[in-house]
């Protein structure tokens, strides 16, 4: 089914009556998504883009069988919205919101783990299985159905790389934007594991950036557990230490979390790292050709 979402996913939009919520509901539907419900406290009974609105996630799930929730909720209300979704039995929560407090995210990730719910984001574009389902804000026109999986910490870099992949005829199975915050839901590790197990995915592109050690742990996972080819791109080689480069999580702390360190770890695990986003396609082609030759 590609990973995480496909044409069978039943999507609910939290905050559907807001400007962003309504706009992206229309866009997700145009991308083939089965949006079955929306929520907005106090606005139950209305409809947005023909989608029924409920007061609570619990009521929406009971009525429509929604299993994926996409949030368009301001940062200070996002904690409650994510917990409400998980408590209502939603299995995949997708949070686009930027600027959520670290304490809120620590509590949310702990709670969702206990509920067995998965989280994508926050502070990211969500995820898309091209032609079948989009849960978030990715520009569906850039994507092409196919067999390359992608997982990324950056929204715009994802679009840039996908644009190149699509132009070169490399379609995508699923693309996951894990978000730019230090505390987030699904990371490289979980997505790589899902891609490795997914029969529709033949290769994976990983897009990282400075901060933390997610890329290093991903490198170890690829080395020890992956049979499918993986190529990478890392941003932030010239970022000064101690400065947050736009994303809350994109920061070199002391001497750790640097792009150079990440590149070295990935290359040591046999993952080629592109010098620019435009180089990803060439690296991927080479890896796939080498594999065919073997």
């Amino acid at each position: 089914m590609a990973i995480l979402i496909d044409e069978h996913s039943r999507v609910l939009v939290q905050g559907i009556t807001g400007r962003e919520g309504a706009l992206h509901t229309a866009r997700m539907r145009a991308a083939g998504t089965n949006v079955v419900a929306g929520t907005s406290p106090g606005k139950g009974g209305q409809a947005v883009e023909g989608v029924p609105v409920f007061d609570t996630v619990r009521a929406a799930v009971a009525e429509t069988g929604a299993g994926v929730a996409v949030l368009f909720v301001p940062a200070r209300f996002a904690r409650d919205a994510m917990i409400e979704a998980a408590d209502a039995g939603i299995g995949l929560v997708v949070c686009v919101t930027e600027g959520i407090a670290v304490r809120d995210m620590a509590e949310v990730t702990a709670h969702l783990m206990r509920r067995g719910a998965r989280l994508v984001g926050p502070n990211g574009p969500g995820l898309i299985t091209p032609g079948r389902c989009s849960a978030g804000i990715m520009p569906a026109d850039v994507f092409l159905p196919g067999h390359t999986g992608l997982v990324s910490r950056s929204g715009t870099l994802t679009y840039e790389v996908v644009y190149e992949l699509t132009r070169a005829g490399f379609g995508q199975s699923t693309c996951v934007g894990m978000g730019g915050d230090p505390l987030h839901g699904l990371g490289f590790l979980e997505c790589l594991e899902l891609y490795e197990a997914d029969p529709e995915t033949g290769s994976v592109v990983l897009i990282g950036e400075i901060g933390g050690d997610d890329e290093e742990r991903a490198a170890a996972f690829v080395r020890d557990h992956m049979t499918k080819p993986v190529v990478a791109y890392i941003a932030g080689f010239s970022a000064p230490p101690g400065k947050r480069m736009g994303h809350a999580g994109a920061i070199v702390e002391g001497s750790s979390g640097t792009a150079a360190e990440k590149k070295a770890a990935l290359e040591a695990a046999g993952i080629p790292v592109a010098a620019a986003p435009t180089e990803v396609v060439a690296l991927l082609r080479r890896r796939l050709e080498r594999r065919r030759a073997q």
């Binding site: 600027g99 670290v102 702990a110 994802t158 970022a239 400065k243 947050r244 620019a276």
Partner: protein, 393 residues
């Protein structure tokens, strides 16, 4: 947002953590008056948002009024790792029996807070742990359960405080347990991502005292920490950027950079460096690229006098590049820029966007066919500009 030592200690005192009597001073005269009030000896401490101030000579213990004045004169204006000292903390002296280390910080890997205690403080605790693993306690705290009593007991046992007690008869073990619990409450209630006490000391008199404070408060939570003032950055531009809805970091090169998306801008800066140039800033205008946001970004970037070229890189995802192009024409056509501009548009309706820009024929604006071409064009014009002005090569 990092707090200065004295700002952190105000939070400490408000929360009920033991700190020494102290005064903030901005001049040598104020420092001397503070020492007079507190009684000698005192420690005169540079207030800077960086470590290593002790080694840099930013902390002095003074036993006379003359020493206080001399130390204050010397430390004020000192530069410690690029941070100029503008404020001092004059703190009552203390007789230290033992130094310890205590911190709670947010761990990405553990997805929550972690408590770290070391019975030897004021030193590199990783080094201590290598020598003696039992000296270090490192405990992940559950964000939903908080600090548990057994975790406090672990810290107290590891501290090996024996029977030490204060003049008032409070056992040091009990005082330490109180400090650990209070630090967790402060970390939680004040939305800290780091609270560090190094050193946490046991005094000769058997008291447990926080001798230093290092506090980082989560920028995203400042809306509910309304008594804390936002950090506006060294030159104030980061504050202006935030109000304009931009992510902005000043850098020290000469090519102004503006783009949509944090990853994309970081990537462009890397490509500039790889092509032999240097970026003057990181500036993310976010999605949409509305004219007023672009205008605000240009103002900020051009405030830096060393900027000799400007690179605009936009990838149209949802936003169409022809709309971005019209916004750019509105901003760039409305003002005379002193520096050449290179524009790269890609993605949604990129060809239309480039055509719109080319048609407008703005003076000094080059439209590049792709990112690679845009980067080399920007590096070339910045080189030509610095050669022309006789600047450094």
């Amino acid at each position: 947002m990092d707090l200065l030592e004295y700002e952190g200690k105000r939070l400490f005192a408000d929360a009920g953590l033991p700190v020494l009597p102290a005064r903030v001073a901005g001049t040598a005269a104020e420092a001397a008056a503070a020492a007079d009030e507190l009684g000698l000896p005192v420690a005169v401490k540079a207030q800077v948002k960086t470590g290593g101030r002790g080694k840099a000579g930013g902390i002095r213990v003074c036993h006379s009024a003359a020493e206080v004045t001399a130390a204050a004169n010397e430390i004020l204006g000192m530069s410690i790792r690029g941070h100029e000292v503008r404020t001092l903390l004059v703190e009552q002296g203390v007789e230290v029996e033992r130094e310890m280390y205590l911190a709670i910080s947010s761990s990405r890997a553990l997805r929550g807070p972690v408590l770290i205690f070391c019975r030897e403080g004021g030193v590199d605790i990783e080094e201590v742990a290598r020598r003696d693993a039992s000296a270090l306690v490192r405990t992940p705290l559950d964000p939903l359960l908080g600090l548990c009593d057994y975790q406090v007991r672990d810290v107290v046992a590891s501290a090996e405080l024996g029977t030490a007690e204060s003049a008032a008869g409070v056992p040091a073990r009990q005082a330490l347990a109180g400090v650990v619990r209070t630090l967790w409450r402060l970390y939680h209630d004040r939305d800290a991502t780091l609270t560090e006490v190094n050193p946490l000391v046991l005094t000769r008199q058997g008291e447990v005292v926080c001798l230093d404070s290092k506090v980082t408060v989560d920028d995203n939570a400042l809306y509910r920490q309304t008594d804390l003032k936002r950090d506006e950055g060294e030159d104030g531009r980061e504050g202006k950027a935030r109000r304009a809805g931009l992510a902005f970091v000043p850098l020290d090169g000469d090519i102004g950079v503006l783009g949509n998306g944090a990853g994309l801008v970081m990537s462009i800066i890397d490509q500039i460096a790889a092509a032999g140039g240097r970026a003057a800033d990181f500036c993310d205008i976010g999605g949409g690229a509305r004219a007023e946001v672009v205008a605000a970004a240009l103002e900020l970037i051009l405030e830096a006098r060393q900027v000799s070229a400007l690179l605009v890189s936009v990838f149209g995802g949802i936003t169409r590049c022809d709309e971005v192009a019209r916004g750019l024409i509105e901003v760039l056509g409305g003002r005379r820029l002193d520096v050449p501009v290179v524009v790269r548009l890609d993605g949604n309706a990129a060809a239309e966007g480039r055509a719109v820009l080319a048609e407008a024929g703005l003076e000094g604006v080059t439209v590049a066919p792709d990112a690679t071409a845009a980067v080399s064009a920007a590096v070339a014009v910045s080189r030509a500009a610095s050669a022309g002005s006789g600047g450094e090569a």
